[in-house]
């Protein structure tokens, strides 16, 4: 273990920071029990009732009462979202209605039995995936689960109880939970409850129950649950300890487990996962490609093991290597693994033992600094043995093996004929060389097993036909015997050597093919003149390389894909497939065939992601309904990233082009507006300054006249300002520039600008008001217009009342006048429309003020509403704006 001084690991600091940030994700609380009947659902409901009393919006997604009245009583008062009925093979199955819950959007959802498997036709095959989606979309979830359903505990449970649990939940789900509460009773207590009939086990489980609920089993299960919770608590404590200057020891370990087609791999993976959890370190599962041909069944098992490892949280690594152990060592060095886990397998034959010992030695020497764990694989069960047998199927397919055998026999036969013809001339020793030549030449073409046959066949033929005494297998002379032995050995060795060479050559070719494909693909994308054509061509190439039909949907915006797939692909998805594609786009993870989500689709859908965005989704449907191999997936990933980069580039190019266009038109608009504004305002400015200068030295009579001019000027000024404001609003050029403002100050400025003259304005606000973030100019203009409107419509002696209130993040300004109220009583008059003037309103004004208020309110993300006052005549206008509120000052200020 690494005992070097503990410097803060940047990853940890980041992770700790992330934990502190308020996440938009919902919180998950898990009620964990050791087995059915401990009261998980009961405890969960108690807690939910408590939350409800505290005012939390709780709904029941799914809760199984199993007809028990105590539990049923606890559901009372909670809203239950009706379940969804699914017809499956003439029976109706009820499942939790995920979409209904998402639509209802409560704060907290109760979802019983996390490990439940959904009926076919549901969105996800597993309920825990439903829960994950709920959390992703920001809902809090309470759920229950028994410890035996945890993926990492499955083989332990099997060892303890002999029962194989099929409904499992990945540990990562519980790792992501914010809280785990252990619901615990003693095993004696549980057995009592069982005897009282308080535990419901389901009709089929009755038989198994007898075995399952044995005292010893219960104690073991309880220990598992307690231990699991304890580990979790330990982790939480460490996380809390790891403050900004946290110095809690944290291992820098990295575990690596070798994964092969052998069924033992599953146990190895689980063992490693448990170890990694205890060490709190990352781990990876490595599969080695030796270039040896692998049967379809083995390939599928490796894929299965790797996906199990991925579900359990491992990083998946595939490396090439001359043999498995070389590959493991290579991967361990490349990924800085500190501990390597391999299986201890039972071998009986002496040569197998020799081989295993030699390989282990090579691993121990080659692993350098890393520790090597050799883990005992538990005694395999019948099923495992069966699978293990099928695991050793002959590598070369039957027909090819036969053909190669015939080739070997024919070649040896021909050599024999030549030998018989030449025997009188050159003697039987030279003929041995002919045989050797044949063996070496054949080695270039044949695989291992036919070569073995060739070696044996040629040595025996030579012995039988040529070594004296001829036509017997008896060898009289020592040097003949030696020659016989040498010949057999040389044939064997050269056969093996060439086979290995060819294997490596095949690997290299494979790699070259992949590189060439990628290069061609990149070139296609980069060189094409028309981006659409490039994308179509790329999709066609993917089809050709994978041997599949493909469909590509490109993005429209962050929520939507294009309606039709790009025309390059041959795969025309139906409605259902499109729904999968949409889901993949939104969630950013693969779905469809051969995945965990919506697995009954035709195609596998991959999101095309770059760091910046998801630029589309790619659907791949293998032609012969086969499963995509690991290599194909890897290749698809590589091609997909290239395609994603190309699409992203195109997207940004288009965006830049669009921005340039808008920019040009905006500039034109702004120039026009600026010159009109200048032309209108300059004469007004001249008038005003001139009037002011005159006022100073005017006679009393002249002063009255000048005052008239000044007032007319002010009115004109207001109209010009309003017209320009409206034009600016409609041009869309108005962009709020937010800054911290003092509400009081803004209100006073607006009141000054509204030139209320004789009209009395009374503010009601609870001071001190905090600072808010808004656009001061826009806010002031809106309020000015609102106040001016109120002043215009009320009798001059009544005054206006303004009220400012700030609730959570909304600023509400209410302005009340004592005029005639809204025109047309409570019927909605188009008062916020441009050029609308209330019938009977005082002369003056264009009827633009309120439309400006509305426009500005909308530009600031808020709204304005009008109503008649409830207490006496007059109208009430309410301007509400979402604002950011300054809660406290940054430390550095004080």
């Amino acid at each position: 273990m690494n005992e070097e001084p503990l410097r803060p690991n940047p990853d940890d600091l980041l992770a700790a920071l992330r934990d502190e940030e308020p996440s938009p994700k919902g919180r998950l609380k898990v009620f964990l029990g050791m087995c059915p009947g401990v009261g998980k659902t009961y405890t969960m409901l108690l807690e939910a009732q408590k939350a409800r009393r505290e005012g939390v919006d709780v709904v029941v997604g799914v809760v199984e009462t199993h007809g028990r009245s105590e539990t049923a009583a606890l559901i009372e008062g909670l809203e239950v979202v009706p379940r969804r009925r699914l017809e499956h093979r003439d029976t109706a199955i009820e499942e939790m209605d995920l979409d209904a819950i998402l639509k209802r959007r409560p704060v907290l959802v109760l979802v019983d039995e996390l490990a439940h498997t959904n009926a076919p036709g549901s969105r996800h095959p597993k309920r825990y995936q439903d829960v994950l989606e709920l959390i992703e979309s920001g809902l809090d979830v309470f759920t229950t689960v028994n410890v035996q359903h945890l993926e990492s505990q499955v083989d332990l449970v099997r060892q303890i109880t002999g029962i194989t649990v099929r409904e499992t939940v990945p540990d990562s789900v519980l790792d992501g939970a914010n809280e785990i509460e252990l619901v615990d009773v003693t095993s004696g207590g549980l057995r009592e409850r069982l005897a009282d009939g308080k535990v419901y086990l389901g009709p089929r489980a009755e038989a198994a129950a007898e075995n399952f609920f044995k005292e010893a089993h219960l104690t073991a299960l309880r220990e598992m649950a307690l231990r699991y919770t304890a580990e979790r608590v330990n982790r939480d404590v460490q996380l809390q300890w790891r403050g900004p200057r946290g110095r809690v020891p944290k291992t820098n370990e990295r575990l690596l487990v070798a994964v092969g087609p052998s069924p033992h791999s599953e146990n190895l993976i689980r063992w490693t996962r448990r170890a990694a959890t205890r060490l709190q370190c990352p781990w990876m599962a490595v599969s080695v490609e030796t270039g040896r041909e692998v049967s379809e069944a083995d390939r599928e098992r490796v894929t299965h093991h790797l996906s199990l490892a991925r579900r359990l949280g491992a990083e998946i690594v595939t490396v090439g290597g001359a043999n498995v152990f070389a590959g493991i060592i290579h991967a361990a060095q490349e990924h800085h693994a500190t501990q390597i886990v391999v299986g201890k397998t039972e071998v009986h034959q002496w040569w197998q033992r020799m081989k295993a010992a030699w390989q282990l030695h090579a691993l121990v020497v080659g692993s350098g600094e890393a520790d090597v764990h050799i883990v005992r694989v538990p005694e395999s069960m019948e099923k495992l043995q069966q699978r293990s047998k099928t695991g050793r199927t002959v590598v070369v397919s039957g027909s090819r093996f036969g053909a190669e055998l015939w080739e070997a026999i024919l070649a040896v036969g021909a050599t024999t004929l030549i030998g018989l013809w030449l025997l009188p001339v050159i003697g039987y020793w030279s003929i041995a060389l002919f045989y050797l030549l044949t063996v070496v030449l054949l080695a270039l073409r044949l695989s291992r097993w036919p070569m073995l046959v060739t070696a044996a066949l040629s040595s025996l033929t030579w012995d039988f036909l040529f070594i004296p005494p001829r036509f017997t297998f008896y060898i009289a002379e020592l040097h003949d015997a030696m020659m016989f032995g040498m010949m057999f050995l040389v044939a064997l060795v050269s056969g093996q050597m060439t086979a290995r060479l060819r294997r490596q050559e095949r690997l290299v070719r494979e790699r070259e093919r992949r590189t060439a494909t990628l290069q061609r693909f990149t070139e296609t994308l980069a060189m094409a003149h028309d981006p659409d054509e490039a994308v179509n061509e790329a999709v066609k190439q993917i089809e050709a390389v994978i041997g599949a039909e493909a469909a590509l949907f490109r993005r429209v915006n962050s929520a939507e894909l294009e309606k039709e797939p790009a025309p390059g692909g041959r795969f025309i998805p139906d409605e259902k497939e499109r729904a999968v594609a949409a889901w993949v786009y939104q969630q950013g993870q693969p779905a469809g065939r051969d995945t965990d989500t919506l697995a009954n689709g035709l195609a596998t859908w991959f999101p095309l992601r770059t760091a910046a965005m998801t630029s589309g989704v790619l659907g791949v449907r293998p032609v012969s309904e086969r499963t995509l191999t690991l290599e194909e997936r890897a290749l698809l990933n590589a091609l997909g990233s290239q395609l994603a980069i190309a699409l992203e580039k195109e997207h940004f190019l288009r965006a830049i082009h669009q921005a340039e266009l808008t920019d040009q038109s905006n500039r034109l608009h702004k120039t026009l507006l600026d010159s009109v504004s200048h032309e209108l305002k300059t004469p007004l400015a001249v008038l005003r300054t001139a009037c002011e200068t005159l006022q100073g030295r005017a006679t009393k009579q002249d002063a009255a006249l000048i005052s008239e001019v000044t007032q007319a000027n002010q009115r004109l000024q207001r109209v010009v300002d309003q017209l320009l404001d409206v034009t600016r609003l409609e041009s869309g050029l108005l962009r709020p520039k937010f800054e911290w403002c003092d509400v009081r100050e803004l209100c006073d400025a607006a009141a000054r600008a509204a030139q209320l003259d004789s009209v009395r304005l009374q503010w009601r606000m609870t001071e001190p008001l905090p600072f808010i973030k808004t656009d001061p100019g826009m806010f002031e203009t809106a309020l000015t217009n609102l106040l001016h409107n109120a002043a215009m419509h009320g009798p001059p002696d009544t005054g206006i009342e303004g009220e400012v209130s700030l609730r959570s993040d909304t600023l509400t300004i209410t302005v009340r006048d004592h005029g005639q109220g809204l025109p047309g009583g409570d019927k909605v008059a188009p008062i916020f429309e441009k050029f609308y003037r209330a019938p009977g309103a005082a002369a003056g004004g264009l009827g633009l003020g309120l439309s400006i208020v509305r426009g500005l309110a909308q530009a600031l993300g808020g709204r304005v509403e009008a109503a008649n006052a409830s207490d006496g005549p007059g109208a009430v206008f309410q301007l509400s704006l979402p604002v950011e509120i300054m809660t406290e000052l940054p430390e550095s200020v004080a």
Binding site: D674, H678, T689, E692, D721, K737, E739, L889, V893
Partner: protein, 226 residues
């Protein structure tokens, strides 16, 4: 009144120029006009006026560009004229060294007050040890602040802000300048500090809310001389 104060007006609007000439000459200024930025720069170099009024919207050169070139060799006080809604231009002009700005339309009294303020040159050299306006009295040497004769206690930052405003009394001081001088160059973006501090400062030095310290939205603050 000193009859020989000279002022250069750079504005393309002939009417504005004529009007300003009347107003300014009335107030005892000697006025020169210039209708373009390029000519204005030449005039400024030859004539060396005591102050310059510069319109930001000029036909040939951008007003900001004129200012930039002018400031390369002259520190003459400059008052910038601009239209509403162009806060960014105003801030840019002040950053480039304009002494104050005025938004069209403006009154004659306002113009003359601004000109008086920017005329108060080299404040550090000529500053009185005691500053007084309205109810406020600040003894700059003893660091004592009094309002209506009663001493008011200010925090270090509040006093620093008030001190800057007094040094530029009557003139606008940009947010950036205040932040930089009080909190250092890293605080230039944090205009919210100013909001908070000025609220406190106003309560202390202007309890009657007479508008002693004016906020110029988006631009800065101004200490108004009574």
């Amino acid at each position: 009144m000193t009859p020989h104060r000279t002022i250069l007006m750079i504005d393309d609007e002939v009417q504005i120029r004529r009007l300003l000439r009347l107003t300014l000459e009335d107030a005892g200024w000697m006025v020169k006009e210039s209708d373009s930025g390029a000519r204005g720069l030449v005039e400024a170099a030859h004539w060396k006026p005591d102050a310059i009024i510069l319109d930001l919207g000029l036909p040939d050169l951008d007003g900001l560009e004129v200012l930039r070139r002018l400031r390369e060799w002259s520190s003459v006080p400059v008052l910038v004229l601009s239209v509403r809604d162009d806060e960014s231009d105003k801030v840019a002009a002040l950053d480039l060294g304009a002494d104050d700005y005025l938004t069209k339309p403006f009154g004659a009294a306002e113009l003359l007050a601004r000109l008086r303020a920017i005329q108060r040159r080299h404040p550090d050299a000529t500053e009185e040890p005691v500053f007084q306006t309205g109810d406020l009295r600040v003894d700059l040497t003893a660091r004592v602040v009094q309002v209506q004769g009663a001493e008011v206690h200010l925090t270090a930052n509040e006093y620093a802000l008030l001190r800057i405003l007094i040094r530029h009394a009557g003139k606008v001081v940009t947010q950036k300048q205040l932040l930089r001088e009080v909190w250092g160059p890293n605080a230039e973006e944090h205009s919210q500090y100013l909001r908070v501090y000025f609220t406190h400062l106003r309560k202390k030095v202007d309890p009657q809310s007479t508008g002693l310290i004016q906020t110029e939205p988006r631009i800065g603050y101004r200490l108004v001389l009574g």
